[in-house]
Symmetry: C3
Amino acid sequence: MSGAARVGARLAELGLTLPGVAAPVAAYVPAVRDGGHVWTSGQLPFVAGALPATGKVGADVTPEDAADLARVAALNALAAVGDVLAREDGTDPVTALDRVRRVVKVVGFVASDPGFGGQPAVVNGASLLLHDLLGDAGVHARSAVGVAVLPLDSPVEIELVVAVD
Amino acid sequence: MSGAARVGARLAELGLTLPGVAAPVAAYVPAVRDGGHVWTSGQLPFVAGALPATGKVGADVTPEDAADLARVAALNALAAVGDVLAREDGTDPVTALDRVRRVVKVVGFVASDPGFGGQPAVVNGASLLLHDLLGDAGVHARSAVGVAVLPLDSPVEIELVVAVD
Amino acid sequence: MSGAARVGARLAELGLTLPGVAAPVAAYVPAVRDGGHVWTSGQLPFVAGALPATGKVGADVTPEDAADLARVAALNALAAVGDVLAREDGTDPVTALDRVRRVVKVVGFVASDPGFGGQPAVVNGASLLLHDLLGDAGVHARSAVGVAVLPLDSPVEIELVVAVD
């Protein structure tokens, strides 16, 4: 990212607020910084601590709704990135996201009815958010996979590997 | 890899041609180089823009056919690696693959009938191709996983993390 | 890790023995060291060469038993890390594990009945083992995913990315 407070400005332009990050549990954490990279845990589309929808995409959840949930999960993943960086920097998560140099990889797991093959369109919700917020730095490699079931019967789960300054 | 044009020579010996790579879409790309690594997107076994087979391995697709598809998907993944490197180098994708120092990790997702546990033999199609083409540099860590369904009902999807010079 | 033979001491305190690692096959290996990281292959909960249980969690296998299996798979993954490092160092796998600086990422695949959403509690078996053995160095980012089926009908599969000195 170049320029000061770029991510904060884009969040405001997009009408988004970076969500809070749940307190780390003992044995694993929402994100780890290792050298020049941050790896996130798989993020669910929690909004204020609850899943807006549950079930399998193509059966219980429409692809369009699932794409919105993937967008939410990606925002939660960025919040986890910002949180771990802000703890180091003594800043805040939004400011800390200006350290993102490149989103390297996104894996999008989509809880899918076995007859549903539209995972790419679902994970696009995450991809487009990253591009919208981070511009060229948000353009990533990506895998979209349809799985049997996700934690708490979430329709989607998103994980990131991000290069940081 | 050591020696000049080694990958190109091996492709010829194996009777293989590196496929073209689809034009990048806006929000994600077939592969990202980040420092000394290239991470690919999950690659499907497209041949000339179409999937040779669809469905679940163990039900609609035999393990042997699926291994062939995993081999195709791995070749597509290498093409994505070569393409991103060639864009930097101003060379061509085959020549650029001589920059591959090591295939670090392969994840093979196999769309599987719930009663089918032969994912390793399927993903061997990818592993053997990488070894055949790259020799010791192609020997990798690997995860083979059976999933409910893949994009476009593809039987397999292969992603790579590759160390490059 | 700090201090001499720390992992060995903790293994003894926990009553654990690092299992042996199967001889590498030709095309892929249990773990690859690449620069300052070791990436493992997806590890199954083999005990003395056999799976203690098979089937889907939530149907054939209880979450509690599956958490135990995830713990076993994580120990096998650490054995793979120790093995690859010991081959370089000319030491033994337990001693070599003292080179682990941080467990960066854990992915836990759980073969799941489509109605089972308790993957996090299952993968906690792996997370807690890593924390128990490695302390702060074992605290990681993590994804827990429910898949249709795993190799040999294993209930769980665990892969690691570990930063090493």
